[in-house]
């Protein structure tokens, strides 16, 4: 079923698609984090912002990706990276904003009070106390968003830019399963690798969690 010689002959192209895929899957996560952090912090400070923000994000999340890609074509262009990156950024936001809010909310009040009592200003408390404690909850959101993003990019192949998703279209049009299998396997491996890296990042960013469990 798998034609190994096809893989050998097309390695450079597969590598190029993989690179394209990684950019289109991960850039939305980075952008999403950059936007979700300030928005999430604002929603924690002004609680009234939270419900509308989450409401809008829920609606965005329920929009089919293919539909959004298509509606964007007149604006961002057919087969452009932006056509995929913009909607995926919104999907990432829909997951990340609630995790940032839940993460900050997970900081125990007595910890926050201790920080204030020790003379921490608001900015220093945020950077040195609130955010580090929020890391596990935020990263849990980042993991979900990253894995879905990696898988969703492939739908972009239907509008001409889907990274490894191109292999699905190629295999279908030529009625030839090898590229399809290669695409599925690479996407799964990519998701697995990204998820593993995030788990490692979480361990590095929260050394106290390890100290507690080994004590």
């Amino acid at each position: 079923m798998i034609r190994w010689d096809w893989i050998g002959r097309n390695l450079p192209e597969i590598r190029e698609l993989l690179g394209d895929h990684i950019v289109m899957a991960l850039l939305p996560i980075l952008l999403g984090l950059l936007i979700a952090l300030p928005l999430g912090l604002a929603s924690v400070r002004w609680r009234r912002l939270y419900q509308p923000t989450v409401g809008i994000m829920n609606v965005v999340y329920s929009l089919p990706s293919l539909a959004v890609f298509i509606v964007l074509i007149p604006i961002t262009g057919l087969a452009e990276q932006a056509t995929v990156i913009v909607p995926l950024t919104f999907y990432a936001l829909a997951v990340l904003i609630p995790s940032v809010v839940d993460g900050i909310a997970s900081v125990p009040t007595h910890v926050r009070q201790s920080a204030v009592a020790m003379g921490f200003g608001p900015m220093r408390r945020l950077l040195q106390v609130d955010l580090p404690i929020a890391v596990p909850v935020v990263l849990a959101g980042v993991r979900v968003a990253t894995v879905s993003s990696i898988s969703l990019v492939s739908v972009g192949a239907l509008v001409g830019r889907g990274g490894l998703g191109y292999l699905f279209i190629d295999g279908w049009q030529r009625q030839f399963p090898t590229p399809i299998v290669v695409g599925i396997v690479l996407i799964l491996l990519l998701a697995l690798a990204a998820d593993g890296l995030l788990v490692v990042a979480q361990r590095l960013l929260t050394p106290w969690a390890r100290a507690r469990s080994s004590a």
């Binding site: 089919p64 509606v71 739908v155 998703g165 699905f168 279908w172 009625q175 399809i180 996407i187 998820d195």
Partner: protein
């Protein structure tokens, strides 16, 4: 906007086997079948795993792996191997998509029920199965319905892709429009699918309001 007027204003789009009502029914038929199959598989499994605590690791691992599974790839692969003859090959990837959210939420819902509540039910003399059906399920219902809602929305959205391998449904407008550079049809189809997804979301909110016992919904924090 002109595209929308062109698409929705065309009388040909409102009748016959390529009309919106017919395509919508087709779309709902696949989606409902896939969702139903997923519920039949995932709910009993989730109840059992949540109630007995056996196989929890399986739930966590399979849910993460399933999220990474590209539906478009799975769909073209299965149809390529099995053939387009029946709708069954299309249902498989859709069911695979819908099972994890329902399974995870059912499991988490049952497992998350307050221990005291469970103990009280046993203390009142209920047996295992009765505790599950009369206490745990009603309390976990909001989460179970949430899982079904997520699954339903994903299925409705993804059933669009089925048109790519030659099936009907609203995806036809999108895929055919892309193939023939008929942008009005593509945009119109995309808008229809988005509206359908929102309708499903609303429908589940209503079901939630009717089905969940008021004693439960008052205490559950709504996200």
């Amino acid at each position: 906007m002109n595209w929308l007027i062109e698409f929705f204003g065309d009388p040909d789009n409102w009748s016959g086997s390529s009309g919106i009502p017919f395509r919508l029914l087709e779309h709902l038929e696949f989606s409902a079948l896939a969702l139903l199959a997923a519920v039949v598989i995932a709910v009993p499994l989730g109840l059992w795993i949540g109630h007995t605590g056996r196989g929890a690791l399986f739930v966590v691992l399979s849910a993460n792996a399933a999220r990474a599974l590209p539906t478009l790839g799975l769909l073209v692969l299965i149809v390529l191997l099995v053939g387009v003859g029946t709708t069954l090959p299309v249902l498989i990837p859709l069911v695979a998509l819908a099972v994890p959210p329902i399974l995870v939420n059912t499991y988490e819902g049952i497992r998350g029920v307050d221990r005291d509540l469970r103990d009280a039910a046993y203390g009142m003399g209920l047996r295992g199965g009765q505790v599950l059906l009369r206490v745990l399920v009603p309390v976990a219902l909001p989460l179970i319905l949430l899982g079904m809602r997520i699954a339903a929305i994903q299925v409705v959205a993804t059933a669009t892709v089925a048109a790519y391998v030659g099936l009907g449904g609203l995806g036809r407008y999108i895929i055919d429009g892309l193939a023939t550079k008929d942008f009005a049809s593509t945009i119109g189809g995309a808008v229809l699918v988005a509206l359908l997804a929102l309708a499903v979301q609303t429908a589940f909110t209503l079901v939630n309001r009717v089905a969940v016992s008021p004693g439960v919904s008052r205490r559950v924090k709504v996200r």
